[in-house]
């Protein structure tokens, strides 16, 4: 560990002797997970089509980490991208899939049951400074990002902070940070002796739609792969079991569906992390 950098400990913790990263308000040893760009828009699925892909150009020159939340039913509920709760659950005739990032844009696919009429899916997105598998390169500057020659900055070891690329900065006060709000845990019971679904909501009370992520696991239930926390949505073998999550200005919802014909049952344990960031501003 270097004896350099910026450290500020929480109350009653010694910044000089603590090794616990959670004891620090600021520790430049650890990079912030910075939001370089966030925004909102709407995906149009035109009359006669069952699907459409929305692309957001970012201009960074490398494939950045990213996330989408999509209001599939245009009713103020922003689902985690990839959600496919299915119309059979009575939930929604819409779904999203194939979120992707590449050197020029991020995108997702919206689909629906049927082809009649134009439909809009509002969405929100966040683009982070870190790469997603691809190597770094290009301009490193997202479209619309205004570099600042002021503020608080610290770079990774060996890099001149004045010349550092965005992703080489551990602290950059020119970026919005992913601010932690709260973690909620809750369980939903399931039993695939017959078709079924279950949903539950958690009030956050923020009066805006916060960025959030959710995970779920089946614990040690026989015949299920989700023995640890899996990022929702989940829905892979052994099918069919799906879990999806959404947020609106008041609460976060978790919805699961399953098909009958089996004998497994148990509790799907969900963990929701809510951030203070308003996904729509």
């Amino acid at each position: 560990m270097g004896d350099y950098g910026i450290k500020v400990a929480i109350e009653e913790k010694n910044a000089l002797t603590s090794f616990n990263p959670r004891d620090f308000l600021i520790w430049s040893k650890y990079k912030d997970f910075k939001i370089l760009k966030k925004g909102k828009g709407s995906l149009l699925i035109p009359n006669g089509s069952t699907s459409a892909r929305k692309q957001i150009a970012h201009g960074m020159g490398y494939s950045p980490a990213y996330y989408f939340w999509v209001d599939m039913d245009n009713n103020g509920k922003y689902w985690m991208v990839g959600s496919n709760p299915g119309s059979t659950s009575g939930s929604t005739p819409h779904n999203t899939s194939e979120p992707e990032s590449n050197k020029t844009n991020i995108s997702f696919l919206g689909t629906r049951d049927g082809t009649s009429g134009n439909e809009n899916m509002p969405f929100a997105y966040a683009i982070f400074d870190q790469r997603a598998v691809d190597t770094y390169g290009g301009s490193d500057t997202p479209i619309g990002y205004q570099k600042a020659d002021y503020g608080i900055k610290a770079a990774i070891p060996g890099v001149n902070v004045l010349k550092a690329k965005i992703y080489e900065l551990v602290i950059n006060s020119n970026c919005e940070l992913l601010n932690y709000h709260s973690t909620r845990t809750i369980g939903l019971n399931w039993n695939n002796s017959a078709n079924g679904s279950s949903r539950i909501t958690i009030v956050h009370g923020l009066n805006y739609v916060p960025m959030f992520l959710a995970w779920g696991n089946h614990g040690s239930a026989a015949g299920t792969p989700f023995d640890k926390d899996n990022l929702i949505p989940v829905g892979r073998s052994p099918q069919p079991f799906t879990a999806s999550a959404w947020a609106n200005t008041y609460e976060v919802g978790i919805e699961i569906t399953w098909a009958g014909g089996g004998s497994a049952s148990g509790t799907f344990n969900c963990r929701v992390v809510i951030f203070e960031n308003d996904m729509l501003s």
Partner: protein, 109 residues
């Protein structure tokens, strides 16, 4: 909290900036920082890493959808995590496809 280090977006009064969208730095808030970056680039279906935290942190991970070319489409992956380890899960692994996982922790919490 009326002390500490604060910064706001350009053109915004730092004393009145809202944490939900205008503040860019506040030493009194919990923020997600990167504890570990785990990466595999081989034709591997599952690799486990210990993250060293005694609680279950945030994990977000991505996997490369292409084995060649320069498009490098990257999807959101489906790896698993608990209070001990991360298992990067390269579903449908193909040679050359990589996966990267960011384990985040809440500084100051």
């Amino acid at each position: 909290m009326n002390y500490g280090i604060k910064a706001a977006k350009k053109g915004v009064d730092v004393f009145t900036a809202d944490i939900k969208d205008k503040q860019t730095f506040n030493s009194g808030r919990y923020v997600e920082k990167i504890k570990e970056v785990f990466e595999v680039s081989e034709n591997t279906t599952e690799v486990d890493f210990r993250h060293g935290l005694n609680y279950t942190p945030v994990l977000i991970d991505y996997r490369n959808l292409n084995s060649s070319g320069d498009t490098n489409d990257v999807g959101i992956s489906a790896s698993r995590i608990d209070n001990f380890e991360v298992i990067l899960t390269n579903v449908g692994a193909v040679a050359g496809r990589g996966i990267i996982g960011y384990v985040l922790f809440q500084a100051g919490s």
